[in-house]
């Protein structure tokens, strides 16, 4: 890469060519403020707080949108720039509710941080907040249009990463609203509730529905036996809520923290992820052997399931009927565990800690009550877990490591990697290979399905017959595969789809600041967790074997079918009306 020399605030510096002024300045220790900028998104240059002076240019230029060129003379700090940035911030505040104390983003709001940095002490403009109603139509997300600063990050992720096309900026000038068409609620449109919008929002304009009080209520109720399950990806992200670097593995501390909150049992979704592999793996084999609908597509990701229900309802037969690990856990907790522990299932309250906002929706799907009760009672995202721990005064940094409870706390490396894109595929292959060939799989790592590439393909030799598989993450990539399937051009046997970029470690409920580079760190840790576990194949999990021996019988058996499999709903909205 060529080197570009330029002048930054009077000093000669150099960077590699092709960088924006913003990036180049950061490399030299100058942090230019930003609001609409997001490292994983296309340049929008909407907010204009990153303006700088470039010699020879009459007006200030947006540093995010201007490439550094040889000999450029840049000033990032002058009275003109300070006045402009302060004015722009004041202009935003004048149209932003002054509710910082009670805002869900109190403490991690990007706008508030800038206000502090720039010493904004009064709002000079006249307030023009409209006090519009909040959108609380879904169990997953709350949209507060009053706080929206029109940066465009959510619309960008909704259209260009997820391809769901729900949030868009409508109207013009001061009337601009970022919302679904006709200002509809999220429940009225084909929103999959992935929460990627909430994840990139710099302020509190869209966020997860807060279910913390529900969980406190259950914990406070002496009649309730409250159990908690933790998704695979949360153990590599929760520490970020307490200031640890991305990718910190905190499994033991996480268990200890949950115990301090007062849960009666701390279980692991990894256990039910192993069960998922048993069911889904056998379903794949059955489809392969009986000429069933192929490719079979994974169904663990509730955002993805909702997406296919809305957009490809005629392709629903491709979805594995296996429930997600969260829901398998819930169904088993109120049946298998209840029986084993001798507790009335009516008294069991199941809480999930998930990286995901769509999991809240999934838990409330009416069909997710095969135990005779709602299988999962409350879902907290990683961010909410961070908050509830702070409310309880749990000091994460000094906690002693602890272990999950039995029996639903024993798991394998195959389950751990569910949290990363390609993980479910890899886990399934580890089991399917051994079941089909009857031989031991020596090298368990399928590197072809790992990594951040949007669509990954691999070919697996199963006792002489070659099987093609594919992995997609982010719904725009999923859409490409679905279009191939629709056109009959997909010759895959098995496809893994994760709704969010990077898989669950990049979910919409993960700590703020989830960028692709943070995703990479979490993925690396997930694979470290796997590599460090003694057991790395789901069918070798002794607790799972016990579950089948004592309770379920066999994979795809009658009880499995009843408790662990589900049906999908045609939510297709896109029909010609005229």
């Amino acid at each position: 890469m060529n080197v570009v020399r330029f002048e930054l605030n009077g000093q000669q510096v150099e960077v590699q060519g092709g960088l924006s002024i913003l990036e180049a300045a950061r490399q030299h220790g100058v942090k230019i403020p930003t609001l609409c900028h997001h490292p994983d998104q296309r340049v929008k240059a909407n907010c204009r707080v990153c303006v700088v002076e470039v010699e020879g240019q009459r007006n200030l230029v947006a540093s995010c949108a201007t490439t550094v060129s040889e000999g450029m003379k840049i000033r990032t700090n002058s009275s003109r720039i300070r006045e402009t940035v302060q004015t722009i911030l004041e202009l935003i505040f004048a149209n932003h509710p002054q509710e910082c104390l009670t805002c869900v983003r109190n403490g991690n709001c990007e706008l508030r941080r800038l206000a502090a940095d720039y010493g904004i002490r009064e709002v000079k403009g006249e307030s023009s907040c409209l006090n519009l109603p909040l959108d609380t139509s879904t169990p997953s997300l709350v949209r507060n249009p009053n706080k929206c600063i029109k940066c465009g990050r959510c619309a960008e992720v909704c259209h260009h990463v997820q391809g769901t096309g729900i949030l868009y900026s409508n109207y013009r000038s001061v009337d601009v609203m970022v919302e679904p068409e006709y200002g509809k609620s999220l429940a009225e449109v084909a929103c999959v509730l992935c929460g990627q919008c909430a994840s990139v929002c710099p302020v509190g304009a869209i966020h997860e529905r807060d279910d913390i009080s529900k969980v406190w209520k259950a914990l406070d109720d002496p009649e309730k036996h409250v159990v908690v399950q933790v998704a695979p990806s949360v153990r590599v992200s929760i520490a970020e809520e307490f200031g640890f670097p991305p990718g910190t593995i905190a499994t033991g501390k996480l268990v200890a923290a949950l115990r301090k909150l007062g849960f009666d049992r701390v279980f692991d979704t990894d256990f039910s992820a192993d069960v998922t592999i048993m069911e889904e793996g056998h379903e794949l084999l059955q489809r392969l052997q009986t000429g069933g609908v192929l490719p079979m597509i994974t169904s663990c990701s509730p955002g993805w399931v909702k997406y296919i229900e809305h957009n490809y309802p005629e392709q629903l037969a491709h979805l594995s009927s296996a429930k997600s690990p969260q829901q398998m856990f819930g169904a088993l907790a109120k049946t298998y565990y209840a029986k084993k522990a001798g507790i009335n299932p009516a008294d069991i309250y199941v809480v999930s800690i998930m990286p995901c906002t769509a999991k809240k929706f999934e838990s409330q799907r009416p069909e997710m009550s095969d135990s005779g009760f709602q299988d999962v009672d409350a879902v907290l995202t990683t961010r909410e877990l961070g908050r509830i721990l702070k409310q309880a005064g749990v000091d994460f940094s000094v906690l002693e490591e602890a272990s999950f409870d039995n029996p639903m706390g024993i798991s394998t490396g195959a389950a751990a990697i569910f949290g990363a894109t390609g993980g479910v595929m890899e886990a399934a292959l580890r089991t399917v290979y051994e079941v089909v060939t009857g031989q031991e799989l020596v090298n368990v790592e399928f590197s072809a399905v790992r990594g951040m590439e949007g669509i990954k393909e691999a070919e697996v030799d199963l006792a002489g017959s070659k099987v093609k598989v594919a992995v997609a993450h982010g719904l725009n990539n999923a859409r490409e595969i679905m279009d191939l399937i629709k056109e009959g051009k997909a010759n895959y046997a098995f496809v893994e789809v994760m709704c969010c970029p990077g898989g669950c470690i990049g979910g919409g409920g993960q700590p703020y600041g989830t960028t692709n580079s943070v995703r990479q760190e979490r993925i690396a840790s997930i694979y470290k967790v796997d590599a460090n576990l003694p057991l790395r194949k789901s069918h070798k999990n002794p607790a799972v074997a016990e579950l089948y021996d004592d309770f379920l019988g066999k994979p795809l058996g009658e009880l499995s079918h009843h408790l662990l499999h589900t049906k999908y709903k045609n939510r297709g909205l896109h029909k010609l009306k005229g």
Partner: protein, 161 residues
């Protein structure tokens, strides 16, 4: 029988540009607007999201997402017309039609709108009714112009009944 969105799009030449489709759909609508069903159908035909169609439609002031009258009366509200007596002309229009700026008459014959600039500053104050420009207006002139449209509407009503 109203022409369908599918027919409009299939009948258009050249590249199927969303904005031209929206204009054509609105022109074909007796109520001078793009309905929610039409937004849905355009999205379906072009294989884009409805939010995308809505977003584009809502941006342009010529596209209406609410039903309007048969005739669109546009009053130029820019400075040259303002200084040439727009206020007076607007008052007469509001009085004659019995509606305020932005409203539609009860008989659904007229919608009164403001328009940024008609490019007719050489004959200001100016208004446009549907595709016709009227300039050098006086209050009396406005009354007589409106009368023509109103009489035509009455004639049509009589024929219909």
């Amino acid at each position: 029988m109203q022409i369908s969105v599918r027919e409009i799009i299939n009948g258009m030449e050249g590249k199927q540009a969303l904005l031209q489709i929206l204009l054509a759909v609105q022109d074909a609508s007796p109520e001078n607007y793009v309905s929610e069903d039409a937004v849905n159908d355009i999205a379906y035909m072009l294989n884009v999201s409805r939010s995308r169609v809505y977003s584009t439609a809502s941006f342009y002031s010529v596209i209406s997402l609410k039903p309007r009258g048969r005739h669109i009366v546009q009053v130029c509200i820019n400075a040259p017309c303002e200084n040439a007596g727009k206020q007076e002309i607007l008052a007469v229009l509001e009085d004659q039609l019995g509606v305020k700026l932005g409203e539609t008459t009860a008989d659904r014959q007229f919608t009164l709108e403001g328009v940024s600039c008609l490019g007719a500053c050489y004959v200001s104050p100016a208004i446009k009714i549907d595709d016709r420009l009227y300039g050098d207006l006086t209050p009396e002139l406005v009354v007589s112009i409106l009368r023509e449209y109103q009489e035509e509407a009455t004639a049509l009503d009589c024929n219909a009944s």
